[in-house]
């Protein structure tokens, strides 16, 4: 097996007496979609925060593409290709849809200490933004204000912003949260189309989506990884069945 794109080694984080991350060790292989599932409060979003740098760790190391990034600030990790989407969508509401994506492209296209040339007419940034918007099926909304998008469209916009950011790893924090059936299907299609091109860490509640997309699944309960393996292995794992007892997705 080639060396992992992301290695988490012994991550630990407590809020007071509450251990939200308790010795998490995980390797994400290049090209794989690795789903992280677990009941509410299992520490999934905290884990994403630890990988992106928003949540400082008590212990453990994060290695990304062979570099120890444990002490790197959020923006530096992002520039290195660690690209995320948010559970609660984070867009630039006062910007148009295309400018949201062009801003993401700008971060990876030379210096932003340029004071005189109008950014809105920079062809290269706009072209890349439009290509990404077309990939997620949002091209026809390019000129709309980002605040006017529906919830599902904001999710698509976040994916487009991730795509122009030259990602080496996508961290998707519940990309289907709050979506209707149809929107979820569309998002699964979008992610299916990206599968193989980018390795992904997918935190998700929608088990149908997880089992369709994931190559490997890790199950997080009370901040610990209780199982990790292929979908079939995880589905058969007695500890997982116990943690999810009574939840219809596993029935």
């Amino acid at each position: 097996m080639s060396s992992p794109i992301l290695s988490l080694n012994g991550l630990a984080k407590s809020f007071g007496a509450l251990k939200v991350t308790d010795g998490v060790t995980l390797d994400i292989a290049p090209g794989e979609i690795h789903a992280v599932i677990g009941p509410n409060g299992a520490g999934k979003t905290t884990l994403i925060g630890e990988i992106t740098g928003e949540v400082p760790l008590d212990a453990g190391t994060v290695t990304f593409a062979g570099q120890d990034i444990t002490r790197w600030p959020v923006h530096r990790r992002a520039l290195a290709g660690l690209t995320r989407s948010f559970q609660i969508t984070q867009v630039l509401p006062g910007f148009s849809v295309v400018e949201n994506v062009a801003t993401a492209a700008q971060a990876h296209d030379g210096s932003s200490f340029s004071f005189f040339r109008p950014a809105a007419t920079e062809r290269r940034l706009n072209d890349r933004a439009m290509t990404a918007l077309a990939q997620v099926g949002l091209a026809d909304r390019a000129r709309s204000g980002a605040a006017s998008l529906s919830h599902g469209e904001k999710r698509q916009l976040e994916i487009a912003m991730a795509l122009v950011a030259e990602p080496r790893l996508l961290l998707l924090d519940e990309p289907m949260a709050g979506m209707g059936r149809e929107e979820t299907e569309r998002m699964v299609d979008v992610l299916m189309a990206l599968k193989g091109r980018y390795p992904m860490v997918l935190v998700e509640h929608d088990m149908h989506a997880v089992f369709r997309l994931a190559d490997r699944i890790s199950v997080l309960v009370y901040g610990r990884v209780i199982a990790s393996g292929t979908p079939d292995q995880v589905r058969a794992d007695p500890a997982v069945r116990e943690a999810y007892l009574g939840e219809e997705e596993f029935a």
């Binding site: 948010f86 630039l92 801003t103 004071f115 950014a119 062809r123 706009n126 290509t131 950011a165």
Partner: protein, 321 residues
């Protein structure tokens, strides 16, 4: 995919709709000396325009960067003192004194900004206020340069060895030209890549970090630009009244700058100019009517805050639709 479809720019209103109001303001300012050539009017409107430059500089950080600086008058004072102190030592050339004033403003902004921008929100307001007060009290203790009483200049700065600034009308147009220059410069800056990052960090800081931007660096650069431009306004202000005093740096004046920007319309630039000119003229006019003018001015500000939310500029904008 069709090439034309790819180049979709940001949606924006037609050109005339974006430019008619600022164009009208500058046109009106240009014809003032032709209609009212009186010394008093020229001096008053020059003062209003200098306040406009200061308000413009504040709008860059307040309107586009959500940084509520409550110490902006310090930059005005620093620029004014730089010119007056150099004058005191015989350096009367604007070509030297004005760049020095700008440099002083930028340096003060770099040092105080690097510290205050580590904080956000109400803490940022408090810390900028504190730095502003430090500048104020430092000025009062400059006994070699007049202390509390301030410092006189015997005549206006020379411009490349000439005394042309002594002429009221010439000075008026120099101020107007500076105002226009600063406006166009800031207009370009807010639309640039840099401006986009600044605006983005105001919209959603967390998102900008996740995209790979460190908002601090951009905010600090904006703060320095703002301080430099405000100091330039101060250099003109010293020349307008041929006098500088610590009173230029009071926190009340800093508050007035905020009022100008907010009343005119934050994040529009021309709103800051309109707010500055409006407030300066109304103050002057009310002060002539009654010495209790603040009792009228106060409620007026409240009315603007209630009925013209988003500032006068947006009120005009809504009326035009």
């Amino acid at each position: 995919m069709a090439d034309t479809a790819l180049a979709a720019p940001t949606a924006s209103p037609p050109l005339w709709r974006r430019w008619w109001l600022p164009a009208l303001v500058f046109l009106a300012l240009a014809v003032v000396p032709l209609i009212w050539p009186e010394r008093f009017v020229l001096g008053l409107v020059s003062r209003a325009m200098i306040m406009g430059i200061a308000a413009l500089s504040l709008d860059l950080i307040l309107g586009y960067g959500a940084m509520v600086s409550f110490g902006h008058a310090a930059f005005l004072g620093l620029g004014a003192y730089a010119v007056a102190i150099l004058f005191e030592h015989g350096i009367v050339e604007a070509g030297i004194a004005f760049p020095v004033a700008i440099l002083v403003g930028a340096t003060f902004a770099l040092v105080t900004g690097a510290i205050s921008l580590k904080t956000r929100g109400v803490y940022f307001i408090m810390i900028t206020l504190a730095f502003g007060q430090m500048a104020f009290f430092t000025a009062t203790s400059l006994s070699a340069y007049g202390g509390d009483d301030g410092l006189r200049m015997f005549h206006r700065s020379e411009l490349f060895g000439t005394r042309i600034l002594a002429n009221e009308a010439t000075f008026y147009f120099v101020v107007l030209g500076t105002l226009l220059g600063c406006y166009l410069l800031l207009k370009a800056i807010v639309a640039s890549r840099f401006g986009r990052v600044l605006r983005g960090a105001k919209e959603n800081e967390r998102r900008m970090r996740a995209l790979g931007f460190d908002p601090f660096r951009y905010r600090l650069a904006a703060y320095v630009i703002s301080g430099a431009i405000c100091a330039l306004a101060g250099a003109l202000f010293a020349n307008l009244g041929l006098f500088v005093a610590p009173a230029y740096m009071t926190w009340q004046r800093s508050g007035e700058f905020i009022a100008m920007v907010v009343a005119g319309g934050m994040g529009t630039l021309h709103g800051a100019i309109i707010g500055a000119i409006g407030i300066t003229l109304i103050e002057e006019w009310l002060a002539e009517l009654t010495q209790h003018w603040k009792a009228i001015f106060g409620p007026l500000v409240v009315l603007v805050a209630i009925f013209a939310r988003g500032g006068i500029v947006r009120l005009i904008d809504r009326g035009g639709r």
